[in-house]
Amino acid sequence: MKILLIEDDREAASYLIQALDEAGHVSHHAADGETGYAMASSMDYDVLIIDRMLPRRDGISIIESLRAEDDNTPVLILSALGEVDDRVTGLRAGGDDYLTKPYAFTELLARVEVLARRSSPNEGETHFEVGGLSLDRLSRKVERDGENILLQPREFRLLEYLMKHSGQVVTRTMLLENVWDYHFDPQTNVIDVHMSRLRSKIDKGYKGQILHTIRGAGYMIK
């Protein structure tokens, strides 16, 4: 995957580039807004990671210009500003996701990978299948090895999100944001409790594990 990182903190950027490379991505770095904008508009990237506060040109204006030019490359906004309003302005300007500094690299990586997939055409799919597990969005049926599994509505949405991003790490905050539509940071392990319930329904008593816990990152269905 080809990623452009526009970030003025050189040390943070070099860690991030290194980590992205280790994760198997090709990443470029721009240290200020103007250079970043020039690179983003002249080359093809799968995902742009843009810091909000940049020298010479701020992140929001870069995104607005790109969107005005019909460039729909997914954008992840990085920001030290984490309040609801800042998130809203960022997303309104055309950003696709918003991550507050400081962040865990696993969180950033998971979000970047999901963003890159978003531009590929599985968006409209109605039927997902992973191993022996299948989920149908129209009939709202979930089956494991041919057996029907009854899920609560929220459990269904949880599984739906996980299966839509099968093979990708999904973090707890991503689940809270996308399945529950809240952006707060819970102190307790709420998501883990829901996941263990889901797991007991779709994995327990079947051969082979489908729902995996990725340590220090989140969950993955594969």
Binding site: G82, V84, D85, A104, Y182, P186, Q187, T188, R197, G216
Partner: protein, 469 residues
Amino acid sequence: MNSSFRLWRTTTFRLTALFIVIFVLAAISLLAFMAYQSSIQIQRSQTVEIEREIRELVRLEKVRGIRSVANVVQKLARRAGPGIYYLGDEKGRKLVGNVSNFPMEVLTQNGIHTFNYSIEQALPDNIGNNTKGVGYALVSSRKLKGGFRLIVGRDIVERRGYTSIIFRGFLFGVIGIVILSLITGGITAKRVLKRIDSISDTTDKIMSGNMSQRVPITKRNDEFDRLATSLNDMLDRIENLMSGLKEVTDNVAHDLKTPLTRMRSKAEAALRKGVSAKDQRAALQATIDESDQLIRTFNALLMISRVEAGTPSGSFASFDVSEVAKDMAELYEPVAEDAGIELILKTEKEVSIYANRELIGQALVNLIENAIKYAGGGKAKNKKIVLSVGEENKNVRIEVSDNGVGIPKEDRERAVERFVRLEKSRTEAGSGLGLSLVRAVAKLHKGEFYLQDNKPGLRAIIEIPKDKQ
């Protein structure tokens, strides 16, 4: 000198002076108009009277002849008063009367005439009291049969008197009014100045460091008292915030230093010789966890201060609070169940509110997490948390109650302060910021947050006005 100069510079005094000038100008024009009007009026009524006398005399001449007229004119001329009577021959010589030297046109032309004359030489003693100066006469002249000329008129003494009376009245009135208004203006200005001085004295004292000073309030309950009250309220708020800030700074120092110290010692221990790679990894992981907790604390602090500063109302929208409560109950129900606590949701059908949905959700989460943490410690057999949303007197009431250990009455106020965790040891997980954020969120929505005894347990209540703010 200095004080009278200050008095002059007050708005009240300047307004008074301005009003005096306007008043005097208005009085002058009013009086001038009145004087003009009344002189016209006097002249008109005199003219009517003169014409009537002339007509009578002309008729007398027709009936009884000129001799009889001369007799009457002579009698009339002798009477005391402002009357002017004259009967002369065709050559302009006076036969009878009390005035002789008329201007030429009066002796030759019929009709009404007015003219000035010198009283000393012209009028006999019996005319008027004003024997000095210039007289003003209004006469009617008529030529009779045989060339005789009859003149009847009045010396308009009233006119002179009137003018001087008006002028004197005006002078005394205006001087009196000017003096009175200057005095009252001065007194008012002085009083206003005194009140203002007491306010600026207070602010001076506060600026020099005495935060407990307040503007004195009188019993008059006037606009200055209202100003003073709102100033005092503002000062209370500022003082509160300042002492709060000091406490927060102390607590931040303590609460952030402790985990930082722990992190530092862990890293140091891992660097020592003879530590296995596995243990080093574990130490690094522990450092990351510790810093995550620190970041979380920072985020909570930032969030509280941003909410307290007031987020722009652009983030407000109308939504159903019961829906949010339902989401949260559903989200936390499994967590509560794992802790052996029943989470019960009680909501009315739809409770619409104009608010920031994220913040209301966050406040609810803080209350539920708090309840789960403390409900477990209670003695009740069936531990439970009740989350209810309802409407009461135009307020939306969000309530989270548990039957756990509760908070003693004397600690309830303090529990809402930043970083206050009531167990002294501070060993329990959590930043001690949860309830502070709830209060900040309630305040942002012009509402209240308070804690009550649930007997046993704690009842946390958020009340937010339902109206669009």
